[in-house]
Symmetry: C2
Subunit: 411 residues, 2 copies
């Protein structure tokens, strides 16, 4: 794709105005919204108000007057339409890791006699670690993590599988699973599905209810722009609610938390999945960020995402100095999320050189540079600029300078 | 105690200047710092900086440049001296409920063959609920919650007990356990101890290391003033580290989180107890609030706490219109925390009438009004004012007005 083509795309971008809703660092192209979403202006205002006015002035009364106590549910209900869920099925709390634990334990109860959690070997590690932790805790006879390559999932779906746990968009490759087909296959095998939406929620339409998904988790700090370490969310389909008891039975999931009963009685519905006292400042930041999703057409977001990643892949293919890269991300737009992963043996140094030149990307060991595209604030001009800087870094060999090879702790 | 006595106490208050470090609502006496600590000015500044500058401008790089990745450990190390712990034993993460789950599972591994978690029937419910949840998950043969009255703890410490789990200061009564004696008794019976410091951390010296405590959890949002739903903390004595595997094995507790290994390998030491991505805004708020504890003599805080609660109890005893109250909190200062709990059949209405008159207290079902005293910002003038308003409400019978009887959701 030539630069004039990118200019045309830029001019016809129906989401271009959303960019003004974000604080973006001057002189940089931020392509890491798949790791940490940018800051919406509305969040700055809201956090200031929550700290100074709600906490500072109204103090303890804010649990009622500013409805802090209701925030996990209220934020969940704002996320629900973003993931295609009717009300009463999504709640915002804790981290993805903690929520996976709650839901896996639930799945094992809903499918008694089936001990297996089936997942993909390349799944995001925390999901696998949590399954491993549950297995170690309850014993292998009752819980057994089985991982296979993505191509062998269907044949591994035997009658021992209680739940198929997958991440919709892979964090390394950007490849997207066919949620409809895999959910159907799991159901045919008598298993439930647990989808991790970390790299998809907010950047494409998701149809949890329509696809008959059983369980899902997702991230508040990537494409939902809720801030660093924002609370996660979890979805449990209505038909599975109140049939099992999640194991992290903290007081906020009690039917009457403020009665301080000595024995646990779970709240009805998805509120059972609450555990401890919610972090109100972080929850409020995410709540404010979700204002951007009101009246937002997620199909437009998806269309722009495909156009951005497509234009980037196309540029990599056309620019000769970029030929040393292998593109790990599927070229079929229907099979990729909103990132492009390029493979190069000097990936770490290239990522550092790009960052120094204001193109903010990240590195994933051992050899991947990830370019994430957030349709609400990334533009086709960003694509063009990133390609040009990348070409400069590659063709000049500047990335070979020794200082780029220092290993950072987090990338 | 007469008002002139309170004036004398006020004049000799060595901590009086700390009050200026807090935002306190004008025209109110805030006596609920045992539920939600007041806002330190330094937190407002820090949160603004974290949102606008660290997140907004530096974005993903802040995990390194602003050391977000290190915050759970760094905040833990600031809490360590507050609870009498040498470095390397405290970490700040998740909620008390989640941390109790991690530590109870650890305790059962450290005491194989002993299935019992012994606690007090009147313990804060979430601790009991979590033990119940663990029991349901792993099965009663491997984990069994046993609760007895506080007076029967010693005789219940038999050789089946893996861990004695107690809250140092009771949330309802304000009574304080003898941590030294109970820890010793548990150890003599071959059990570990897990102390919940929710109502004591930050308001008195605590000697976890010196008393040979095994495990502890505590709250960031009460006397540590970290903000609503601030992350909790967890202590595991050095001698127990790396001998067991906590079950909530999220990626942040991995030895090399950013290697994205497919199998879990726990981080050494207390960092194993991390699970998901930490909520940076909330953690930063608590980190800033802990600046107030630098160079703070916790014995002075305890002395003032005893003087405040003592003056309040004394005032209740001396003022005749307050004679209908029973004081649930021990009169022996060595046996109480930093709150006074008064019992009255119209406790709910009385609490509402006090709040309307600017004395912020809370109600605990069925019949308790709690008066919490935070030595860093409450004064002896606050005590005098609260007594005078309470006397007015009682002697006038104003609390009998029907509007005070409406049931609030949270109190």
């Amino acid at each position: 794709m030539s630069t004039p083509d990118l200019e045309a795309l830029e001019k016809s971008d129906s989401l271009a105005d959303y960019r003004t809703a974000f604080d973006l660092p001057a002189g940089k192209v931020y392509l890491d919204g798949n790791s940490l979403g940018a800051l919406p202006h509305v969040v700055t205002e809201r956090v200031g108000e929550v700290v100074r006015s709600q906490w500072g002035e109204d103090l303890i009364a804010s649990w009622n007057t500013h409805e802090w106590i209701d925030l996990p549910r209220a934020v969940g209900e704002k996320i629900a339409p973003v993931v295609g869920a009717a009300p009463g099925q999504v709640i915002c709390c804790d981290s993805i890791s903690i929520n996976v634990f709650k839901l896996l334990a639930t799945a094992l109860q809903l499918r008694p006699g089936k001990p297996v959690i089936l997942s993909e070997a390349g799944n995001f590690p925390t999901d696998l670690y949590v399954a491993e932790g549950l297995q170690n805790l309850v014993g292998e006879g009752r819980c057994e993590l089985r991982t296979v390559g993505a191509d062998h999932l269907l044949e591994a779906l035997d009658d021992e599988v209680a739940v198929l746990m997958l991440t919709q968009v892979n964090f390394r490759t950007g490849a997207m699973h066919d949620m409809a087909a895999l959910t159907r296959a799991a159901h045919e095998a008598g298993a439930l599905v647990l989808w991790d939406l970390a790299h998809s929620a907010g950047v494409m339409p998701i149809y949890l209810d329509a696809l008959n998904v059983d369980m899902a988790v997702g991230c508040g700090y990537k494409f939902l722009n809720g801030g660093p370490g924002a609370p996660a969310f979890l979805y449990l389909a209505q038909r599975h609610q109140n049939l099992a008891q999640q194991p992290l039975t903290g007081w906020m999931g009690h039917r009457r938390a403020f009665d301080f009963d000595p024995t646990y009685e779970s709240a009805p519905g998805v509120e059972q999945y609450l555990c401890g006292t919610p972090g109100i400042i972080g929850l409020s930041a995410l709540d404010a960020a979700l204002m951007l999703f009101e009246n937002l057409d997620l199909q437009s977001v998806r269309d722009k995402s495909i156009a951005l990643t497509g234009a980037f892949i196309d540029g990599v293919n056309r620019r000769q100095p970029l030929s040393p890269f292998d593109c790990l991300t599927p070229k079929d737009p229907g099979r990729r999320g909103s990132q492009v992963s390029l493979v190069h043996e000097s990936a770490y140094a290239i990522a550092q050189a790009l960052i120094e030149r204001g193109v903010i990307v990240d590195f994933r060991a051992p050899d991947i540079v990830r370019f994430g595209f957030a349709p609400l604030y990334n533009s086709f001009t960003d694509v063009d600029h990133a390609l040009t800087v990348l070409e400069g870094v590659l063709s000049s060999g500047q990335y070979l300078e020794p200082r780029y090879l220092e290993q950072a702790r987090v990338t």
